[in-house]
């Protein structure tokens, strides 16, 4: 500390006697601070690309909104196109775009849309994430009250209008049957249906060709009265009981395999891949036979230690089987895997859901899905037989 004070004392003396040089030095420092690395120019593909695929249901959930450089947005979408996936689901957080009331920053969604179009990839938009200015202090970003809902509708209408013809599928909220995703308030299908009722007509006026998707419910077995959430099958029935039917055009579904193979039969007391069939049964039972669904999150995890994960070889086999099962689901428009890539390592089992690393190292599962989607033959065995003693 004494050393530091001595330096500051001498600095003070020098500046007092040579203040002209001090000002020049400050100007030099300012100019040097303005020097930045040249921005990488990103060229669009000309002519624009189209996705070559034999499996149009193959879809990826992406995390492009957190990609700072344009080049990695393009690289991710190129890889997705080359894999044979014609659709992505991307989250467009309200708080990122409307940082203060009526002040919009469309830069990132514009970039994503520009490159998605250039690669021929369709975008399904997931909407949510309440800005601080639109909710009470000390509430979470998933908390929305009546005032907040009014602002949310305005934002959704602006979003739908701006991207009409480029984004025609909007998912309203995410997993509202979890307390965490509902601002730590008790989960209540009635309140979520109120949101659907409020947004449905304005969105159709903004974009007459829009498909409004009810938010996917989290696969969970939480019973009535649980502080954590509510069983997705019960919650969906609750939505119908609250009169949701005429206020969504399609349903988003989340269905994870966890540690079971995709063929495992559905069971209301089990969380597995074919739980999507039970969700569908609730829809049919409520007269929504012709209403489509979009599976917007699915997949298996291959972390070596997590108890809800499988081995990488199983993950590949299960994922391909799941796609084949979904081929027979005429009620499912897409089967999207969580998640294509994270921009930075998460250092947890979340990294083991990805197909491509933050450093663009492509994992074997990517090539397996590519072979399936594009009809390539996979040559030879993927691994050796176990060594014998």
């Amino acid at each position: 500390m004494i050393f530091l004070m001595t330096i500051l004392y001498h600095l003070f003396k020098i500046l007092a006697h040579h203040w002209h040089w001090g000002i020049r030095f400050a100007i030099l420092l300012f100019l040097l601070s303005q020097i930045t690395a040249p921005r990488l120019r990103v060229m669009l593909e000309n002519p624009p690309k189209t996705v070559q695929t034999t499996q149009p249901k193959v879809c990826m959930h992406t995390d492009l909104v957190h990609e700072p450089p344009e080049s990695t947005i393009q690289m991710s979408l190129q890889l997705i196109r080359e894999m044979g996936a014609p659709t992505i689901v991307e989250f467009f957080p309200w708080a990122y775009i409307e940082r203060s009331p009526d002040v919009y920053d469309w830069h990132q969604p514009d970039l994503i849309l520009k490159h998605a179009q250039n690669q021929g990839v369709r975008v399904i938009a997931r909407m949510g994430f309440v800005p601080q200015w639109a909710r009470p202090k000390d509430t979470s970003f998933n908390y929305i009250d009546e005032d907040g809902l009014t602002h949310f509708i305005e934002f959704l209408v602006d979003f739908a209008t701006r991207y009409a013809g480029r984004i025609d599928h909007l998912i309203i909220w995410n997993e509202p049957n979890l307390a965490f995703e509902w601002g730590f308030l008790p989960t209540d299908p009635n309140r979520y249906v109120d949101m659907l009722k409020a947004v449905y007509e304005p969105l159709h006026r903004a974009n007459p060709t829009i498909t409004v998707l009810a938010g996917a419910l989290a696969p969970t077995l939480e019973p009535e009265g649980s502080p954590n959430g509510l069983d997705d099958l019960l919650y969906l029935q609750g939505m119908y009981d609250a009169g949701a039917q005429n206020y969504f055009d399609a349903l988003a579904i989340h269905t994870y395999g966890f540690i079971t193979p995709p063929e495992t039969p559905p069971d209301p007391r089990l969380l597995n891949f074919r739980r999507a069939e039970l969700i569908r049964e609730v829809m049919v039972a409520n007269g929504d036979t012709d209403k489509p669904t979009f599976i917007t999150e699915s997949g298996w995890n291959d972390n070596p230690r997590w108890t809800q994960a499988v081995r990488p070889s199983q993950r590949i086999a299960y994922t391909l089987s799941a796609f084949r099962i979904a081929e027979g689901w005429d009620w499912a428009d897409t089967l999207c895997l969580w998640i294509f890539r994270h921009p930075t390592p998460r250092n947890t089992h979340r990294d083991n859901f990805t197909l491509v690393t933050p450093f663009f190292q492509v994992k074997p599962i990517y090539y397996a899905i590519q072979a399936y989607a594009r009809g390539f033959a996979m040559e030879g065995a993927l691994w050796l037989n176990p060594p014998e003693e």
């Binding site: 003070f12 291959d302 070889s313 993950r315 190292q361 994992k363 993927l382 691994w383």
Partner: protein, 262 residues
């Protein structure tokens, strides 16, 4: 500009800089006890064996044993709070717990809110070879064979090496244990896999003499809230004692065969 005005302005700048340096030293957190609740409250994700697991209501594993050893060293009772991984940091931030011990790697985006202690284990990838033919240099890989688990992190590393290291044979197996079998049986010169898998495998082959070299690092540390400096200092100091006096190594050896390959 008059010389006196200049001196006032420059003086104000110097005082400002000094204030910025000195004020944090007067932080009231200094006066806060390290563990104000009189116990050590630890968040852990019990879905991660052999580190943390709930077996019929009983919590077991390396992290649980480390937490108990810390409590003993600090003279405090220990309370574990089992949570999902998504809730660990929230619990710390909201003062529901004092520490997170949960096979936790430091996350850069959390560093403004959380301090991380010394690592108590490194679960990075290790290159394993037989002790009588240890692989210690890149040159030794040439024309040799590396065994690994297909699709795992080791697979990514081997694919990257195959583009820039001298030629070698790739031997992917369905399971990492098969890769170790291949080395043990002399079919491959080396295997690449994580330290935990190696430690668990060696429980079945305690007499197998190996050489291992870390290729990547994956440090497991303990997280403490940024504004709880005394908690951090007390925890880090006691953890260092436990590392130095061999307690941590003893705990690890209860769950796997562990050698300090550093």
């Amino acid at each position: 500009m008059a010389q006196s005005t200049r001196r006032i302005i420059i003086g104000a700048v110097v005082v400002g800089i000094l204030a910025m340096i000195l004020l944090p030293l007067l932080n009231p957190s200094e006066k806060t006890p390290a563990f104000p609740h009189g116990m050590l409250r630890i968040a852990t994700d019990t879905s991660y064996p052999p580190y943390s697991r709930d077996v019929d209501g009983e919590l077991i594993g390396v992290d649980i044993a480390v937490g108990r050893a810390l409590g003993e060293a600090l003279g405090l009772p220990v309370q574990f709070v089992p949570l999902g991984i998504d809730a660990l940091y929230d619990a710390l931030k909201n003062d529901r717990v004092d520490l997170i011990i949960s096979a936790l790697q430091p996350e850069d985006i959390m560093r403004s809110e959380v301090r991380y202690t010394l690592p108590y284990f490194d679960d990075g990838l290790v290159m394993v070879s037989n002790a009588d033919m240890p692989i210690t240099t890149w040159q030794q890989l040439e024309n040799g064979a590396i065994a690994y688990e297909f699709g795992a992190y080791a697979d990514e590393i081997v694919r990257a090496w195959s583009r820039r290291v001298l030629p070698f044979d790739k031997m992917p197996y369905e399971l990492p244990e098969y890769a170790l079998d291949a080395v043990r049986l002399g079919l491959a010169q080396s295997a690449l896999l994580d330290m935990t898998t190696l430690g668990l495998y060696r429980q079945n082959y305690p007499d197998w003499a190996i050489h291992a070299t870390y290729i990547t690092h994956k440090p497991f540390t303990i997280a403490v809230r940024m504004d709880r400096e005394n908690t951090f200092i007390a925890t880090n100091d006691k953890l260092k004692e436990l590392l130095d006096n061999g307690t941590i190594a003893r705990i690890l050896n209860e769950w796997m065969v562990y050698d300090d390959w550093d």
